[in-house]
Symmetry: C2
Subunit: 388 residues, 2 copies
């Protein structure tokens, strides 16, 4: 390997906040990014070498990206695995993680089946195409259950709780497409593990505790406030998940710690979902670890050595979400309190418009006492408001 100028170039499908933070992490390493995103002047644009304006599924854009890059990756699951596969073959530019892994993850039913087959503990689930099938499945799984669109859902979109047989028809209508239904897991807490596959090596970041409201991640606490045994079991499950993935990169692995030990499972950890990319629950690693999840992804997709995943200090981060009623230009007040708090870090994603619950940035704080950090970061975040 060598360093040159311009340096190795990573082509990224998607240029949202994840692309932006990939760019921030790549620069010190001498790695350049070119991103492809349909929104002109996307969040990543000001911090990367170049943006190609084009859709996530637009093959000519992806081909241009491949021609300018040493390796292709994606920061959004809407990337098209077929197009990526064809472009990789035509241009010789490798894609990481493998398009086949992206394809598997895009369909929540296929994802769950693949992982269950690989021995990863998952909640009980069934594929359902009709209201009758949904009712039948729920008879076995019990009410309430969670109906999920097989594709396209994120941040809770596409997920519909079903509390009884009378809900089934409306729920199927709402999902409006291929679906799966899962038992509603009674969990003690939600956890996430950022796993990484490098060139012949694999590793996990310390287990993160995630706090959701309205199915959207609000805060991440690291290390998770769980027992050593639970954290170790979460790491084991994450390593099993990594073994079922193809290609290199960072994977966001969301888990449930169940309230009761489960029969038929080795422990109380169940897999919820996987993202084949850096994940919101790993943003804390920017300040909390020696290597951030973004630097790790850059290293991994280029086939360079992974960095240490060791934690530096207990760390909490909180998402800044749009607290507005409708889509409008983003003007946020109150960041002075974040900037004037020692060990608090503001991350602004550079989105021009805010809409309800849109992820606009995050605040991270390092320290010793996770409960205190969680309270303090929450308060700092709550002090940030968008003008209406």
């Amino acid at each position: 390997m060598t360093r040159t100028s311009p340096g190795p170039t990573v082509g990224v499908v998607g240029g949202g906040q994840l692309g932006r933070m990939l760019g921030e992490a790549a620069a010190p390493l001498g790695v350049e990014l070119v991103v492809a995103d349909p929104t002109p002047d996307c969040p990543a644009a000001p911090v990367v070498r170049d943006q190609l304006v084009g859709g996530f599924e637009d093959e000519s854009t992806i081909r241009e990206l491949a021609e300018r890059a040493d390796v292709l990756t994606f920061e959004i699951e809407l990337a098209d695995p077929d197009a990526l596969e064809r472009v990789a073959e035509e241009t010789g530019t490798p894609v990481h993680p493998a398009p086949e892994t992206l394809r598997t993850i895009q369909d929540k039913l296929v994802q769950k089946r693949r992982l269950a087959d690989a021995g990863v503990p998952v909640p009980e689930f069934r594929g359902v195409d009709t209201t009758d099938e949904l009712r039948e499945a729920c008879e076995e799984l019990g009410y309430p259950a969670m109906l999920k669109a097989r594709t396209g859902g994120y941040d809770g979109r596409g997920n519909v709780p079903v509390s009884g047989p009378d809900d089934a028809e409306a729920a199927m209508d709402e999902v409006a497409g291929p679906a799966m239904v899962e038992e509603m897991v009674d969990f003690e807490r939600e956890l996430a593990v950022m796993g990484c596959l490098g060139d012949g090596e694999r590793d996990t970041f310390p287990v993160t505790e995630t706090v959701h409201r309205e199915e959207i991640l609000r805060e991440s606490v690291a290390p998770a406030r769980a027992s050593d045994e639970v954290r170790e079991r979460a790491r084991e499950v994450a390593l099993d998940v990594l073994d079922a993935m193809d290609g290199r990169g960072v994977f966001g692995i969301e888990l449930f710690q169940t309230s009761e030990p489960r029969s038929g499972s080795e422990g109380e950890i169940l897999l919820n979902e996987i993202a084949p990319r850096p994940h919101n629950s790993g943003h804390w690693t920017i300040e909390g670890c020696h290597t951030s999840q973004f630097e790790q992804h850059v290293r991994a997709v280029l086939g360079e050595p992974l960095g240490t995943t060791e934690i530096r200090d207990p760390t909490v981060s909180a998402n800044i979400l749009g607290d507005v009623d409708e889509r409008q230009d983003a003007v946020m007040d109150g960041e002075e309190s974040v900037l004037s708090t020692a060990r608090a870090h503001l991350h602004w994603y550079g989105k021009r418009e805010v809409y309800p619950l849109r992820k606009m940035g995050h605040v991270t704080m390092t320290g010793d006492d996770r409960d205190g950090l969680l309270a303090e970061v929450g308060e700092l975040r709550d002090g940030l408001t968008f003008r209406r």
Copy 2:
């Protein structure tokens, strides 16, 4: 204050490695950079919003920069204070630090006089315009002495040791312009303090120990391996220096810790030189502190609150210098060993060409034992070589 997209914009005269690292630090804060530099695709270019291609003294370029920015700053002392002053007046865009401070610092004789007048302890010095004046000054200061060009020198360039009266004529010829001569300080170690002036606040980063060879900085160790008393005295001197500066920003303050206590001075710290900008001896703050010197400079020039200057862990950084015989395309081998060492961080500046002793990047490591870190970082750095 607010955050918007695009965010507040800092216009930077100069787009070398300091501009690049300013851009890396500004991005998470939602702050954009536009840099002006005569070299197309300068090191900062790939990580900032835009580069204007133009000379550091080119007033039309600086005016365009001012029109696109909320505040102007500079990352190179070759910036023209007169042009900055005129442009600030014409456009209303403020300049930080103040052009008057830049003007003072550009002339080493004026700098020393100003600081001596402000009560800052400095080595004995004299302005000299002729060989006779040089010999006369050296009679008072003693041989050997150090003759310095008043303007334009850096990394030891423009500095000529004078070991006896017979050297004087050749030394004056070599400097070839307005000069000053200083006593040769017998120092125990060299120190540096990154000082910062914010909007109504001032602070210093932990005192750094700097190791030079051939008058070029090679390694920085933080905190300096000096007594608490020496470090406290260095901080006091740095604060006195800051009080003599106008405008906001980070200042690199280079100091000598003398081998013997000095009469006529309160302690054993003497000021060597000041840079009105982030400085090589503060690069370790990127990993070593909660706030880096680059983030601090961005905060300061925008008038936003300063971040904490608290250290996270003892940290050492080592410069990667061109180990070649002549100017050529930069291709560096050996970075794999840096990337595979836990807690080691590679910083590559993106320069297309390497020449002898050119600063091409640096390696930083955090840990506990500074002696061990210094040995290990030195070894990692020495393993990086440029193809000839």
